[in-house]
């Protein structure tokens, strides 16, 4: 609005609590930590840690490997988790669907579980020894399809990504569901009168209206995946086996920053990795904020 307007203190009041708590408890400590990336035990070293990270093959190989794995992890989520989430939300939002609340809750339950249990139960299910999956496959005569999925370099990462999808599909589902519900009934009724029902209603009317929500889940998936850590840590350990096939940036960072087994924590190199990750994620978020979000049309209902 016009520049002559009196200072709008309420904006500051609205922002202050969040900004204060967040700055004090999160940003200052975190940036204090990232700052460590410019130091070594002996003092300020400029970008030397980054030179090591990207120049020393030992470090850079691990970094690129983790990044590659991470990208794959993210792709699986985008291709599997989000479409399934959207599909489920679309089904759940059909008017007067019986048992909708039950389905919604049931599908959301995995999201509530702690990683410890998720890791345990999926290892139990996929275990070649205790064999829920093998015995079920055997029951349908597909035993030959079974492999020790978590133990093979080719399958471990994808398997973990799918487990993660299983666990978190509730999140896109909830967000999309909330977005779908905020579309006014009358618009959907108008579509119904126009003969636009079922899938075409979804594609032509609902989907365009929930694009901003889809944008949000995409960026949340991106950020979440590039920060992911727990599931892999719980299932495969900090060394993200087999042979680092499931190593993603989060596990690589954890191992480096906090140390693992005999490897001592190296906050400086850890901070360098964290900074690199941060920049990658920031770049992604900026692309979203400036290139995508501003182009998404929003509709007021």
């Amino acid at each position: 609005m016009a520049a002559r307007r009196a200072t709008r203190w309420h904006i500051a009041v609205f922002l202050a609590p969040a900004v204060l708590v967040y700055t004090a408890v999160m940003i200052l400590p975190l940036f204090g930590t990232l700052n460590l990336s410019l130091y070594r035990a002996e003092g300020f070293v400029g970008l030397a840690n980054f030179r090591t990270l990207f120049g020393d093959p030992h470090w850079s190989e691990q970094f690129w490997n983790a990044l590659r794995n991470n990208v794959w992890f993210f792709i699986i989520h985008m291709l599997v988790q989000n479409p399934i989430g959207i599909l489920l939300a679309a089904l759940l939002s059909s008017p007067r669907l019986r048992l909708a609340a039950f389905y919604r809750t049931a599908i959301f339950i995995p999201t509530i579980l702690s990683f410890v249990i998720v890791g345990f139960v999926w290892k139990l299910i996929l275990s070649p020894i205790w064999g829920i999956a093998p015995s079920m496959l055997q029951a349908v005569g597909l035993k030959f399809l079974f492999q020790p999925f978590l133990g093979q370099e080719e399958t471990a990462l994808t398997t973990l990504a799918l487990i993660s999808v299983w666990q978190f599909v509730g999140i896109p589902m909830m967000l999309i569901y909330a977005a779908l519900l905020s579309i006014p009934d009358e618009v959907l009724e108008a579509a119904e009168m126009d003969g636009i029902t079922g899938w075409s209603r979804f594609w032509k009317v609902q989907l365009p209206l929930i694009l901003p929500a889809i944008g949000i889940i995409s960026i949340l998936t991106f950020v979440g995946n590039f920060n992911a850590f727990d599931l892999i840590y719980v299932a495969q350990g900090a060394l993200a086996g087999p042979n680092f096939a499931t190593d993603i940036l989060g596990t690589f960072l954890y191992r480096t920053f906090f140390g693992f087994q005999l490897q001592l924590g190296d906050p400086n190199m850890g901070a360098a990795i964290a900074t690199a990750m941060f920049l990658i994620i920031l770049a992604g978020v900026c692309v979203y904020l400036f290139a995508i979000q501003t182009r998404l049309r929003r509709y007021q209902f």
């Binding site: 009041v13 922002l15 969040a18 489920l88 007067r96 064999g131 909330a178 119904e192 209902f301």
Partner: protein, 278 residues
């Protein structure tokens, strides 16, 4: 609406939903049945329903005997609920400022508030712990609430500001014409109308808090302030894990979150049925 649903399509919808529900619940089922079996039976036949021979509540009894589980529950609940409250309140306020007003630095503030989701907060542990030591907050629930509030804010702001953009301007303007201050518009009009989004954010915020092990371990490990997740860790040993107890403890730990989830998802539905007009 009875007249409006197609039997075929409804059937397909149910088929897909039931199929996915099975996929979602099967592992949960495995967890639950195994939590009431003896250790041998868990690994001997993980899929089997407990029989009189394998029925064993040792997990639950161990859990209840070991430490003050109800106290842990209570701590977890206090921390989770208080954190959600502050995340929602502060987050919604900031989201409102960002989505409603154009001011210089709007996008930058938004970006600043989003930075937090890009770096794992664990990295700031030492500085956070030092701060808490200095403030005398170690081994208090307040320390956890502060950290979780800060941790939950970025996501809350991000999601809520998107949803707040959908609230009709005419409506807010009607409020302004009615003499409502910006605060009143926020609290009386916008908050109730974004209730579904608030419920969603509450759920997202709640889960990592409830399941977090790290900050309780660092900031509040004392017996009086232990959370349920931290309490369950006792059973995870170096060489052997008491799976009966872990399964029992974590199965029990699902219940309160599930209840919270149900409460919030009701809000979600209620927010919707309050219904927007035009």
């Amino acid at each position: 609406m009875a007249a409006r649903s197609h039997p075929g399509r409804t059937f397909a919808a149910h088929a897909i939903l039931i199929a996915y529900t099975l996929i979602a619940l099967f592992p949960v089922w495995v967890i639950v049945i195994n939590s009431v079996k003896s250790r041998r039976a868990i690994f001997g036949a993980p899929l089997a329903v407990p029989t009189p021979e394998t029925w064993d509540l040792v997990g639950y009894t161990t859990v209840l005997e070991n430490g003050d589980f109800f106290g842990y529950f209570q701590n977890s609940l206090i921390v989770t609920v208080a954190s959600i409250f502050f995340v929602l309140l502060f987050g919604a306020m900031a989201a409102f400022a960002l989505s409603e007003y154009r001011f210089r630095g709007n996008t930058l503030t938004g970006l600043y508030l989003a930075l937090g989701i890009m770096i794992p907060i664990r990295l700031g542990t030492v500085a956070i712990l030092q701060g808490m030591v200095a403030a005398g907050l170690v081994n208090t629930l307040t320390a956890l609430i502060l950290v979780y509030t800060a941790q939950g804010l970025p996501l809350a702001v991000f999601i809520l500001s998107e949803f707040m953009r959908n609230v009709s301007d005419d409506l807010k303007n009607a409020g302004r014409m009615d003499g409502l201050s910006e605060y009143a518009i926020f609290f009386r009009l916008v908050l109730p109308l974004v209730r579904p989004a608030m419920a969603t954010v509450a759920v997202f915020t709640m889960i990592p808090i409830w399941n977090d092990l790290w900050f309780p371990l660092i900031l509040a490990p004392s017996e009086a302030t232990k959370t349920i997740t931290l309490g369950s860790q006792v059973f995870i040993g170096q060489f052997v894990t008491n799976w009966n107890a872990v399964l029992a403890a974590l199965s029990l730990a699902i219940v309160p979150v599930l209840i919270l989830y149900l409460i919030f998802s009701r809000q979600l539905i209620r927010g919707i049925t309050a219904g927007a007009v035009k």
